[in-house]
Subunit: 136 residues, 2 copies
Amino acid sequence: MESASLLKRHGLRSTPVRRLLLEIMDATEHAVSHADLEQQVGGEADRVTLYRALNTFEEHGIIHKVLDREGVARFALCMDNCSTHTHVDEHLHFQCTVCSNVYCLPIEHYPRVSMPNGFNLVRLSLVAEGVCKRCN
Amino acid sequence: MESASLLKRHGLRSTPVRRLLLEIMDATEHAVSHADLEQQVGGEADRVTLYRALNTFEEHGIIHKVLDREGVARFALCMDNCSTHTHVDEHLHFQCTVCSNVYCLPIEHYPRVSMPNGFNLVRLSLVAEGVCKRCN
DNA sequence: ATAAACAATGCAACACTATTGCATTTGCAA
DNA sequence: TTGCAAATGCAATAGTGTTGCATTGTTTAT
Ligand SMILES: [Mn+2]
Ligand SMILES: [Mn+2]
Ligand SMILES: [Zn+2]
Ligand SMILES: [Zn+2]
Protein backbone atom coordinates (compact mmCIF):
# COMPACT_ATOMS: atom_id res chain seq x y z
CA MET A 1 0.00 0.00 0.00
CA GLU A 2 2.82 2.32 0.93
CA SER A 3 4.77 1.60 -2.23
CA ALA A 4 1.80 2.38 -4.44
CA SER A 5 1.47 5.89 -3.01
CA LEU A 6 5.22 6.40 -3.23
CA LEU A 7 5.02 5.65 -6.94
CA LYS A 8 2.03 7.93 -7.40
CA ARG A 9 3.80 10.70 -5.58
CA HIS A 10 6.57 10.57 -8.14
CA GLY A 11 4.19 10.37 -11.07
CA LEU A 12 4.97 6.74 -11.84
CA ARG A 13 2.56 3.98 -12.70
CA SER A 14 1.90 1.46 -9.99
CA THR A 15 2.71 -1.98 -11.28
CA PRO A 16 3.18 -5.29 -9.42
CA VAL A 17 6.89 -5.48 -10.19
CA ARG A 18 7.60 -1.94 -9.08
CA ARG A 19 5.68 -2.34 -5.85
CA LEU A 20 7.48 -5.59 -5.13
CA LEU A 21 10.89 -4.03 -5.70
CA LEU A 22 10.11 -1.14 -3.40
CA GLU A 23 8.85 -3.47 -0.68
CA ILE A 24 11.98 -5.57 -0.87
CA MET A 25 14.21 -2.54 -0.62
CA ASP A 26 12.14 -1.14 2.23
CA ALA A 27 12.52 -4.40 4.15
CA THR A 28 16.28 -4.58 3.65
CA GLU A 29 18.63 -2.59 5.86
CA HIS A 30 21.44 -2.63 3.31
CA ALA A 31 21.70 -1.75 -0.35
CA VAL A 32 20.67 -4.53 -2.72
CA SER A 33 22.15 -5.52 -6.05
CA HIS A 34 20.24 -6.42 -9.17
CA ALA A 35 21.23 -10.04 -8.60
CA ASP A 36 19.81 -9.91 -5.07
CA LEU A 37 16.54 -8.55 -6.36
CA GLU A 38 16.34 -11.00 -9.21
CA GLN A 39 16.76 -13.83 -6.76
CA GLN A 40 14.16 -12.48 -4.35
CA VAL A 41 11.68 -11.65 -7.06
CA GLY A 42 12.00 -15.18 -8.39
CA GLY A 43 10.13 -15.69 -11.62
CA GLU A 44 7.85 -12.75 -11.03
CA ALA A 45 9.63 -10.50 -13.48
CA ASP A 46 12.21 -10.45 -16.24
CA ARG A 47 15.72 -9.27 -15.42
CA VAL A 48 15.43 -6.46 -17.95
CA THR A 49 12.28 -5.22 -16.28
CA LEU A 50 14.17 -4.97 -13.01
CA TYR A 51 16.97 -2.98 -14.64
CA ARG A 52 14.46 -0.61 -16.20
CA ALA A 53 12.48 -0.19 -12.99
CA LEU A 54 15.65 0.54 -11.04
CA ASN A 55 16.78 3.11 -13.59
CA THR A 56 13.38 4.77 -13.48
CA PHE A 57 13.40 4.86 -9.69
CA GLU A 58 16.82 6.43 -9.68
CA GLU A 59 15.88 9.06 -12.23
CA HIS A 60 12.92 10.04 -10.09
CA GLY A 61 14.86 10.23 -6.85
CA ILE A 62 13.18 7.22 -5.23
CA ILE A 63 16.37 5.21 -4.91
CA HIS A 64 20.05 5.92 -5.33
CA LYS A 65 22.80 3.75 -6.73
CA VAL A 66 26.20 3.03 -5.27
CA LEU A 67 28.90 0.93 -6.86
CA ASP A 68 30.58 -1.60 -4.61
CA ARG A 69 34.30 -2.35 -4.78
CA GLU A 70 33.67 -4.84 -7.58
CA GLY A 71 31.95 -2.13 -9.61
CA VAL A 72 28.53 -3.72 -9.24
CA ALA A 73 25.57 -1.44 -8.62
CA ARG A 74 23.69 -1.62 -5.35
CA PHE A 75 20.49 0.24 -4.71
CA ALA A 76 18.86 1.72 -1.65
CA LEU A 77 15.85 3.88 -0.99
CA CYS A 78 16.63 7.57 -0.71
CA MET A 79 16.31 8.83 2.85
CA ASP A 80 16.26 12.53 2.10
CA ASN A 81 13.51 13.87 -0.06
CA CYS A 82 15.08 13.40 -3.45
CA SER A 83 13.31 14.11 -6.70
CA THR A 84 14.09 14.07 -10.39
CA HIS A 85 16.39 17.06 -10.21
CA THR A 86 17.60 17.01 -6.63
CA HIS A 87 19.57 14.02 -5.43
CA VAL A 88 21.09 14.74 -2.04
CA ASP A 89 22.35 11.50 -0.47
CA GLU A 90 25.14 13.05 1.57
CA HIS A 91 26.09 10.04 3.59
CA LEU A 92 28.81 7.45 3.80
CA HIS A 93 28.70 4.15 1.96
CA PHE A 94 30.20 1.34 3.93
CA GLN A 95 30.99 -2.08 2.48
CA CYS A 96 31.72 -4.95 4.83
CA THR A 97 34.78 -6.97 3.90
CA VAL A 98 33.19 -10.09 5.40
CA CYS A 99 29.61 -10.21 4.13
CA SER A 100 30.08 -7.69 1.27
CA ASN A 101 26.90 -5.87 2.24
CA VAL A 102 26.78 -2.15 1.57
CA TYR A 103 25.23 0.13 4.17
CA CYS A 104 24.11 3.73 3.92
CA LEU A 105 25.46 5.42 7.03
CA PRO A 106 24.56 9.01 7.91
CA ILE A 107 27.45 10.73 9.62
CA GLU A 108 27.32 13.82 11.80
CA HIS A 109 30.01 15.93 10.13
CA TYR A 110 30.33 15.36 6.42
CA PRO A 111 33.93 16.29 5.62
CA ARG A 112 34.98 19.03 3.21
CA VAL A 113 38.19 18.93 1.25
CA SER A 114 40.10 21.72 -0.42
CA MET A 115 40.93 21.04 -4.05
CA PRO A 116 44.15 21.77 -5.93
CA ASN A 117 44.15 24.75 -8.23
CA GLY A 118 42.09 24.31 -11.38
CA PHE A 119 39.95 21.49 -10.09
CA ASN A 120 36.35 22.41 -9.53
CA LEU A 121 34.64 20.18 -6.99
CA VAL A 122 30.97 19.37 -7.44
CA ARG A 123 30.36 16.31 -5.29
CA LEU A 124 32.42 14.36 -2.80
CA SER A 125 31.57 10.71 -2.09
CA LEU A 126 32.76 8.74 0.89
CA VAL A 127 33.30 5.04 0.42
CA ALA A 128 34.42 3.06 3.44
CA GLU A 129 35.56 -0.49 3.99
CA GLY A 130 35.52 -2.47 7.19
CA VAL A 131 33.50 -4.89 9.25
CA CYS A 132 29.80 -4.30 9.75
CA LYS A 133 27.82 -4.57 12.96
CA ARG A 134 26.45 -8.01 12.15
CA CYS A 135 29.88 -9.46 11.30
CA ASN A 136 31.50 -8.10 14.44
CA MET B 1 65.16 1.64 -19.05
CA GLU B 2 63.45 3.01 -15.98
CA SER B 3 60.56 0.60 -16.26
CA ALA B 4 62.89 -2.39 -16.46
CA SER B 5 64.53 -1.57 -13.15
CA LEU B 6 61.14 -0.89 -11.58
CA LEU B 7 60.08 -4.39 -12.54
CA LYS B 8 63.32 -5.89 -11.26
CA ARG B 9 62.93 -4.03 -8.00
CA HIS B 10 59.60 -5.78 -7.47
CA GLY B 11 60.92 -9.16 -8.47
CA LEU B 12 59.04 -9.24 -11.75
CA ARG B 13 60.29 -10.33 -15.14
CA SER B 14 61.01 -7.57 -17.59
CA THR B 15 58.97 -8.14 -20.73
CA PRO B 16 58.19 -5.82 -23.65
CA VAL B 17 54.49 -5.58 -22.80
CA ARG B 18 55.09 -4.79 -19.16
CA ARG B 19 57.66 -2.14 -19.94
CA LEU B 20 55.34 -0.58 -22.49
CA LEU B 21 52.45 -0.46 -20.04
CA LEU B 22 54.58 1.19 -17.39
CA GLU B 23 55.89 3.75 -19.85
CA ILE B 24 52.38 4.64 -20.97
CA MET B 25 51.18 5.06 -17.41
CA ASP B 26 54.26 7.08 -16.53
CA ALA B 27 53.59 9.43 -19.43
CA THR B 28 49.93 9.94 -18.56
CA GLU B 29 48.91 12.38 -15.87
CA HIS B 30 45.58 10.68 -15.23
CA ALA B 31 44.55 7.12 -14.50
CA VAL B 32 44.10 4.94 -17.57
CA SER B 33 41.56 2.25 -18.24
CA HIS B 34 42.21 -1.11 -19.80
CA ALA B 35 40.49 0.13 -22.96
CA ASP B 36 42.82 3.15 -23.06
CA LEU B 37 45.84 0.91 -22.78
CA GLU B 38 44.57 -1.57 -25.32
CA GLN B 39 44.12 1.26 -27.78
CA GLN B 40 47.56 2.76 -27.14
CA VAL B 41 49.29 -0.59 -27.20
CA GLY B 42 47.71 -1.33 -30.54
CA GLY B 43 48.38 -4.85 -31.74
CA GLU B 44 51.44 -5.23 -29.54
CA ALA B 45 49.69 -7.40 -26.99
CA ASP B 46 46.59 -9.39 -26.35
CA ARG B 47 43.87 -7.92 -24.13
CA VAL B 48 44.20 -10.77 -21.66
CA THR B 49 47.90 -10.10 -21.31
CA LEU B 50 47.11 -6.52 -20.37
CA TYR B 51 44.62 -7.63 -17.74
CA ARG B 52 47.12 -10.04 -16.28
CA ALA B 53 49.96 -7.53 -16.29
CA LEU B 54 47.77 -4.95 -14.57
CA ASN B 55 46.70 -7.44 -11.92
CA THR B 56 50.31 -8.41 -11.31
CA PHE B 57 51.37 -4.77 -11.03
CA GLU B 58 48.62 -4.10 -8.52
CA GLU B 59 49.47 -7.13 -6.42
CA HIS B 60 53.07 -5.94 -6.23
CA GLY B 61 52.22 -2.35 -5.33
CA ILE B 62 53.43 -0.85 -8.59
CA ILE B 63 50.04 0.52 -9.60
CA HIS B 64 46.70 0.95 -7.88
CA LYS B 65 43.20 0.57 -9.23
CA VAL B 66 40.28 2.94 -8.87
CA LEU B 67 36.77 2.35 -10.18
CA ASP B 68 35.19 5.26 -12.02
CA ARG B 69 31.53 6.14 -11.69
CA GLU B 70 30.65 3.60 -14.38
CA GLY B 71 32.37 0.88 -12.38
CA VAL B 72 35.24 0.59 -14.85
CA ALA B 73 38.74 0.13 -13.49
CA ARG B 74 41.35 2.83 -14.05
CA PHE B 75 44.98 2.38 -13.16
CA ALA B 76 47.73 4.72 -12.05
CA LEU B 77 51.27 4.30 -10.81
CA CYS B 78 51.59 4.32 -7.05
CA MET B 79 53.21 7.50 -5.77
CA ASP B 80 54.02 6.31 -2.30
CA ASN B 81 56.31 3.35 -1.91
CA CYS B 82 53.79 0.57 -2.08
CA SER B 83 54.72 -3.09 -2.04
CA THR B 84 52.96 -6.43 -2.07
CA HIS B 85 51.66 -6.05 1.46
CA THR B 86 51.51 -2.31 1.97
CA HIS B 87 49.26 -0.28 -0.27
CA VAL B 88 48.97 3.27 1.01
CA ASP B 89 47.39 5.49 -1.64
CA GLU B 90 45.78 7.94 0.74
CA HIS B 91 44.69 10.51 -1.76
CA LEU B 92 41.54 11.73 -3.45
CA HIS B 93 40.28 10.37 -6.75
CA PHE B 94 38.68 12.99 -8.91
CA GLN B 95 36.66 12.23 -12.03
CA CYS B 96 35.90 15.03 -14.46
CA THR B 97 32.29 15.16 -15.58
CA VAL B 98 33.36 16.59 -18.94
CA CYS B 99 36.30 14.48 -20.13
CA SER B 100 35.72 11.56 -17.72
CA ASN B 101 39.39 11.45 -16.83
CA VAL B 102 40.27 10.29 -13.33
CA TYR B 103 43.03 12.12 -11.46
CA CYS B 104 44.93 11.14 -8.36
CA LEU B 105 44.99 14.24 -6.18
CA PRO B 106 47.01 14.41 -2.98
CA ILE B 107 45.26 16.57 -0.40
CA GLU B 108 46.78 18.20 2.63
CA HIS B 109 44.38 16.99 5.32
CA TYR B 110 42.90 13.61 4.66
CA PRO B 111 39.58 13.64 6.54
CA ARG B 112 38.64 11.25 9.32
CA VAL B 113 35.07 10.24 10.01
CA SER B 114 33.53 8.75 13.14
CA MET B 115 31.58 5.59 12.52
CA PRO B 116 28.23 4.54 14.00
CA ASN B 117 28.35 1.96 16.76
CA GLY B 118 29.23 -1.54 15.61
CA PHE B 119 30.86 -0.51 12.38
CA ASN B 120 34.59 -1.02 12.28
CA LEU B 121 36.34 1.25 9.79
CA VAL B 122 39.39 -0.05 7.96
CA ARG B 123 39.79 2.24 4.98
CA LEU B 124 38.10 5.42 3.81
CA SER B 125 38.16 6.35 0.12
CA LEU B 126 37.40 9.77 -1.28
CA VAL B 127 35.82 9.95 -4.69
CA ALA B 128 35.11 13.36 -6.11
CA GLU B 129 33.28 14.64 -9.15
CA GLY B 130 33.69 17.95 -10.88
CA VAL B 131 35.50 19.72 -13.69
CA CYS B 132 39.21 19.17 -14.15
CA LYS B 133 41.87 21.79 -14.81
CA ARG B 134 42.00 21.10 -18.54
CA CYS B 135 38.23 21.34 -19.01
CA ASN B 136 37.97 24.58 -17.08
C1' DA C 1 76.90 -20.04 -24.81
C1' DT C 2 73.50 -23.66 -23.68
C1' DA C 3 69.95 -25.78 -21.58
C1' DA C 4 66.49 -26.40 -18.09
C1' DA C 5 62.92 -24.42 -15.35
C1' DC C 6 59.39 -21.63 -14.89
C1' DA C 7 56.84 -17.53 -15.85
C1' DA C 8 54.44 -14.78 -19.42
C1' DT C 9 51.78 -14.66 -23.53
C1' DG C 10 48.11 -15.67 -27.17
C1' DC C 11 43.93 -17.60 -28.22
C1' DA C 12 39.46 -19.43 -27.32
C1' DA C 13 35.87 -19.80 -24.36
C1' DC C 14 33.28 -18.19 -20.71
C1' DA C 15 30.83 -15.41 -16.78
C1' DC C 16 28.68 -11.43 -15.52
C1' DT C 17 26.58 -6.82 -15.66
C1' DA C 18 23.99 -3.92 -18.30
C1' DT C 19 21.56 -1.98 -22.44
C1' DT C 20 18.62 -1.84 -26.74
C1' DG C 21 14.87 -3.10 -30.17
C1' DC C 22 10.55 -4.70 -30.89
C1' DA C 23 6.22 -7.01 -30.21
C1' DT C 24 2.81 -7.61 -26.60
C1' DT C 25 0.48 -6.52 -22.41
C1' DT C 26 -1.08 -3.48 -18.89
C1' DG C 27 -2.25 0.81 -16.18
C1' DC C 28 -4.83 4.73 -16.21
C1' DA C 29 -7.44 8.49 -17.71
C1' DA C 30 -10.99 10.16 -20.73
C1' DT D 1 -15.42 0.81 -21.31
C1' DT D 2 -12.29 2.14 -24.55
C1' DG D 3 -7.92 4.06 -26.26
C1' DC D 4 -3.35 5.38 -25.68
C1' DA D 5 0.88 5.76 -23.59
C1' DA D 6 3.78 3.30 -20.68
C1' DA D 7 5.58 -1.02 -18.89
C1' DT D 8 6.89 -5.67 -19.72
C1' DG D 9 8.98 -10.01 -21.88
C1' DC D 10 12.06 -11.91 -24.93
C1' DA D 11 15.99 -11.98 -27.89
C1' DA D 12 20.04 -10.00 -29.14
C1' DT D 13 23.99 -7.22 -28.20
C1' DA D 14 27.91 -4.62 -25.93
C1' DG D 15 31.47 -4.23 -22.51
C1' DT D 16 34.43 -5.67 -18.74
C1' DG D 17 36.89 -9.13 -16.82
C1' DT D 18 38.42 -14.13 -15.87
C1' DT D 19 40.04 -18.98 -16.80
C1' DG D 20 42.26 -23.06 -19.26
C1' DC D 21 45.64 -24.61 -22.05
C1' DA D 22 49.20 -24.77 -25.47
C1' DT D 23 53.14 -22.01 -26.91
C1' DT D 24 56.68 -18.62 -26.37
C1' DG D 25 60.01 -16.05 -23.83
C1' DT D 26 62.92 -14.72 -19.62
C1' DT D 27 65.90 -15.97 -16.28
C1' DT D 28 69.15 -18.81 -13.80
C1' DA D 29 72.45 -22.27 -13.50
C1' DT D 30 75.65 -24.99 -15.84
MN1 LIG E 1 23.19 5.44 0.30
MN1 LIG F 1 45.24 7.21 -7.15
ZN1 LIG G 1 29.20 -7.76 7.28
ZN1 LIG H 1 38.15 17.07 -17.74
